[in-house]
């Protein structure tokens, strides 16, 4: 795993045939990252925004340009106060036999505002593509806002694609159940949020996961 320290920049990267890369993007501010994938390359990218600046944008563009590529994009953003964070993903399947999976979660408190725009394009030649996109968000206050806009353009017919977007609050029956066991409301909220965010950290090295979990817990 490699930490990408690329704030306030546009960057372009290529994964050569068969190359495997795992990137971690921490608190991206104004980032535009374009990644081109060659045959059979495998990309995993985690985009974690825990202590963002007042406003941030992050645009992730991945193009599968040859067959048999794998793309996994995972991300989470915790926003509070008046923080703003806009996340854009554009995943393009140019050719067939590729796999992509996107999972992004936002937790917003106070007056925070976020947006997720997720473009997924499967071109006519990209038969036998499997592509998934999921965006789930939790609002902790009435004045926090999230806009979510999945944009799916599927031009091939022999494909397996799915997408889902949900925005909700913490489950009040679960919170009360925990309180009834003597767990404070604050701890109960933390437990639920950690559970909500847990799967975004899949694939990270154990040590990094433990560190991030601590940072998440402290940020909540």
């Amino acid at each position: 795993m490699r930490i990408l320290d690329i704030n306030n920049t546009d960057q372009q990267l290529t994964l050569e045939a068969g190359q495997e890369e795992h990137f971690l993007l921490l608190d991206p501010q104004h980032v535009k990252l374009r990644i081109q994938q060659q045959e059979g390359s495998r990309l995993m990218l985690h985009c974690i925004s825990l202590a963002p600046a007042e406003s941030g944008t992050c645009e992730l563009i991945v193009e599968q340009q040859a067959e048999g590529c794998e793309t996994r994009l995972y991300g989470l953003a915790l926003l509070k106060g008046e923080q703003k964070f806009d996340l854009v993903t554009r995943v393009l399947h140019n050719v067939g036999g590729g796999y992509s999976n996107q999972l992004f979660k936002f937790v917003l408190d106070d007056e925070a505002q976020g947006s997720f725009y997720g473009e997924l394009k499967v071109l006519p030649d990209a038969q036998k593509t499997e592509a998934h996109q999921t965006n789930r968000n939790i609002l902790l206050s009435r004045s926090a806002k999230i806009q979510t806009k999945p944009q799916l353009e599927i031009y091939a017919d022999d494909v397996k694609c799915s997408h889902g977007a949900t925005t909700g609050q913490l489950d009040s029956t679960a919170l009360f159940y925990m309180q009834q066991r003597g767990i404070s409301l604050a701890s109960a909220r933390r437990l639920l949020l950690a559970a909500f965010l847990g799967d975004v950290l899949q694939g990270l090295p154990e040590e990094t996961t433990a560190q991030l979990e601590q940072q998440i817990d402290a940020a909540l």
Partner: protein
């Protein structure tokens, strides 16, 4: 232990409890019966501080303290435990983490040091054995994918871990087959401290409110008093025989008498 006076409570803008009085002494077992919708779960929600329910009138004193002014978590830490009629599934939160947090937050409230990982494990094993619950269940998320019976056993396990002085069993018997019912009821009987056990460890004897439709459970957990809830009030109180009569004759005769008395 518990004294409820003239309790009026509503949910969703509808008044459900209309002047309920109930007094529960230390170590006493009270069965609460009544038709579906009579307000039994409403009473357990009020006692535990469920924010979806509102008290409009009345007082509740629990071990000398004003219960209604306490947060739900403090009521739990003071020793009130509800075995939920519908235990909640919490995906992603492991049973171990959940129980460890609950036990240690209660200990903190009592001014005790938190249990270490090994002390916790020891307590957990001891209680698992006591209530005959498999430790496999404990490696999963809270109640997630548990069968109805497993959920009810898990409630009793949690009760064992938290060692309450007032337990409310809200239809802990519903949906259980004969074996599961026996395990759950015997588990409860092992956990509860009778007067002698209580004196030995200097803690109060366990009191309980057992909400049930069936006399079956009360053959295992023998009540000192049986109450019938109707029209938002307790309209009749008796001993174990009352539960047997209800089992045989239903609620009609009690409700008719209550209606006539009210005319």
């Amino acid at each position: 232990m518990l004294e409820i006076k003239n309790l009026h409570a509503s949910v969703g803008g509808k008044e459900i409890l209309k002047g309920l009085d109930l007094r529960i002494g230390e170590g006493e077992i009270h069965a609460l019966m009544g038709r579906n919708g009579a307000g039994k779960s409403t009473l357990s929600a009020i006692l535990t501080g469920n924010p979806a329910y509102t008290v409009t009138e009345g007082t509740i004193t629990f071990r000398g303290k004003d219960l209604l002014s306490m947060s739900p978590e403090d009521r739990a830490r003071e020793g009130i435990f509800l075995s939920f009629q519908y235990p909640v599934e919490i995906p992603g939160v492991s049973m171990v983490n959940f129980m460890k947090t609950a036990v240690n937050e209660k200990r903190k409230y009592q001014g005790l040091e938190p249990l270490s990982a090994s002390e916790f494990l020891k307590l957990k094993r001891e209680k698992e054995a006591l209530v005959e619950i498999g430790s496999k269940m404990q490696n999963r998320s809270v109640n997630e994918g548990f069968s109805g019976g497993e959920k009810k056993k898990n409630e009793v396990f949690q009760m064992a871990m938290l060692d309450p002085c007032l337990a409310i069993l809200d239809e802990t018997d519903s949906g259980l087959d004969v074996d599961a019912l026996r395990i759950v009821a015997e588990g409860f009987n092992k956990i509860r401290k009778d007067k002698a056990a209580a004196e030995a460890c200097g803690q109060p004897a366990t009191s309980a409110i057992v909400i049930t439709h069936y006399e079956r459970l009360l053959e295992y957990i023998r009540p000192d008093f049986v109450h019938v809830l109707y029209n938002g009030k307790i309209v009749r109180t008796g001993d174990a025989q009352l539960a047997r009569d209800i089992d045989e004759k239903g609620f009609d005769w009690i409700e008719n008498e209550a209606d006539n008395a009210g005319k």
